[in-house]
């Protein structure tokens, strides 16, 4: 059962071959068997999971209409608020925070009758590329326990890859869905900025953050995106545009199809094994009749520098709210109000969060704002214009998701800049607001998964998913499962 996709789990329940309770029991058992090695979850409440599943079964028995994800377990990155359930953001500062409301995506999942299976580990406040920055535990890559699952949504990616949940949600501010999807051999999609409401997502970089799905294949990915996408007035940047039925058009091949290939995505630092797998994927598309067209993204080499000014500037504002006053950690001993705030923040935040708050504060400070923050916003427009020009000539841009396969735990923790560079191919999509997907496209000789990134123009998720599905139908990489 645990090798079935969400779509198959839905079919088997509809046919009466499986119950939601049996599905929940199987996943919970798998979770208990593997969790000591994977450490993907921060919280799982077995009784609550079973109660949700039994409710679905009872409603099915009564003949009530059920939602699009009825009885399918979904894991949630622990930056998404669930009413009455501890939401820590992987941070000590929110160790005891219990949200009084559900995130919009959680409301959507409940309306679709999904079973919320638990909260997954992540880098603190989604700041990191390996999930090592969590204050609680280190999540391990299901394919190789000595390696990271990527990050910051490493728990959500590892949970799906380890068969602990068929679906999960992550968030992507600079690659935090796509890079862990690539490291864990699964599919991960970052929607267009404004496609999914951020209400109830604890903010990191508000102009960059998007919530998106993880799954084993493109059909499940399309299904979960359909459930979470759509307008929500509680997020003023969430766009009021109809949500296409991604699952209905997924099988339609795109013809003609022009694939843009940017030389900037095949430069120095790209592991030759990754490059070979990506070139092989391009050959698959050529066999299917696609035209491969060289395109230029001349400002993409500046995307990491731009990101680490824009994201950190936004973070320094967003994280100012953790002051020990309204919620979150308050220091036990202090001398006066200011000291209370300083000590609470000093004790509650980890090193990477502190680094980014300092960098963002510096970029916004008087005398530096023009040279740093405003300069970065101007380069951001140049990056966006590169994509606008590219998508006038091609349907999608295809390249590697990350320059290497999963790296070892501890390998990059002492060198933040090296860690940042693992997001070099994903980060510009967030700055430009465009959607991107990572799909499995091979394995290294050492047996580590390799991800193919497909980028599309804003709100072209439907086209992007169809192109991803074309590759999936011709290959079997997405059917490989990790032995945990």
């Amino acid at each position: 059962m645990l090798n079935l996709t969400a779509t198959e789990l839905l079919q088997k329940q509809a046919a009466g071959d499986l119950t939601a309770e049996a599905i929940a029991l199987a996943y919970l058992q798998r979770l208990r068997e593997t969790e000591l090695r994977v450490q993907a979850f921060l919280a799982v409440d077995d009784a609550d999971v079973l109660a949700q599943a039994k409710t679905i079964d009872a409603r099915r028995q009564r003949g009530e209409p059920l939602g699009r994800l009825a009885g399918v377990p979904v894991a949630l990155k622990d930056v998404l608020c669930v009413k009455g359930r501890r939401t820590t953001c992987g941070s000590k500062i929110l160790r005891n925070f219990v949200p009084p409301y559900d995130a919009h995506v959680v409301t959507q999942l409940r309306a679709a009758d999904a079973v919320l299976i638990g909260k997954t580990n992540c880098d603190e406040f989604a700041m990191g590329s390996s999930t090592e920055n969590s204050a609680y535990q280190i999540t391990r890559n299901p394919w190789d326990h000595e390696r990271t699952p990527g990050g910051s949504s490493g728990g959500s990616a590892a949970a799906v890859a380890a068969g602990q949940a068929p679906l999960s949600l992550g968030t992507d501010t600079g690659g935090s869905i796509r890079q862990p999807a690539s490291f864990c051999g699964i599919v991960g999609l970052k929607p267009t900025y404004g496609r999914v409401s951020r209400f109830g997502l604890v903010a990191y970089g508000s102009s960059l953050d998007q919530i998106g799905p993880f799954a084993h294949d493109t059909r499940d990915t399309a299904l979960l995106l359909e459930v979470i996408a759509g307008h929500d007035p509680r997020d003023s940047t969430c766009v009021n545009q109809p949500v296409p039925e991604y699952t209905k058009t997924l099988d339609q091949k795109l013809a003609p199809l022009t694939i843009g290939v940017a030389k900037e995505y095949f430069g120095e630092g790209l592991d030759p094994e990754i490059e070979q797998s990506v070139r092989d994927a391009l050959k698959v598309y050529e066999r299917l009749g696609a035209t491969i067209k060289p395109i230029a993204l001349p400002h993409s080499p500046y995307s990491i520098a731009t990101y680490y000014l824009v994201a950190t500037a936004e973070a320094s504002g967003n994280l100012a709210r953790y002051d020990g006053v309204h919620f979150g950690h308050r220091a036990e001993t202090f001398a006066g109000l200011i000291d209370m705030m300083k000590k609470s923040r000093g004790e509650g935040f980890g090193a990477e969060v502190k680094r980014r708050i300092m960098l963002g504060t510096y970029a916004l400070s008087s005398g530096y704002i023009d040279a740093y923050y405003l300069k970065a916003l101007k380069v951001r427009r140049l990056i966006r214009q590169d994509f606008d020009r590219a998508f006038a000539e091609c349907d999608v841009i295809v390249g590697p998701t990350s320059p290497t396969a999963a790296f070892k735990i501890g390998e990059k923790v002492s060198d933040p800049l090296a860690m940042y560079l693992s997001d070099i191919y994903t980060i510009s999509a967030n700055l430009a607001g465009i959607p991107g997907i990572s799909i499995p496209c091979g394995f290294t000789k050492a047996g580590l998964p390799i991800g193919l990134q497909i980028l599309a123009a804003s709100f072209a998720e439907e086209k992007m998913l169809r192109v991803a599905h074309m590759h999936e139908r011709e290959t079997d990489w997405h059917t490989r499962r990790a032995t945990v």
Binding site: F97, P100, G194, A305, G336, K378, V379, R380, R384
Partner: protein, 70 residues
């Protein structure tokens, strides 16, 4: 941490080499601007729920150290 921050700032300084004369800053990539709703009251959290996460409280108030005259 100072050494790490210096390395990051050195790296970020590469942006200074790009000509951005006449380029408008792009604060966010959404086409949505200035979204307003009707100015009508909507339900909000009851005090007990809003205060449930307070590190310290007194009745329906957040309790903090004295702000003035420490």
């Amino acid at each position: 941490m100072a050494t790490q921050l210096s390395a990051i700032v050195d790296y970020i300084n590469q942006l200074q080499s790009i000509n951005t004369d006449g380029v408008e800053p792009l604060a966010h990539a959404s086409d949505v601007h200035d979204v307003f709703r009707e100015d009508v009251p909507i339900p909000s959290l009851p005090p007990a729920e809003a205060l449930a996460n307070a590190p310290a409280r007194k009745g329906d108030y957040y309790r903090v150290p004295p702000v003035f005259g420490e």
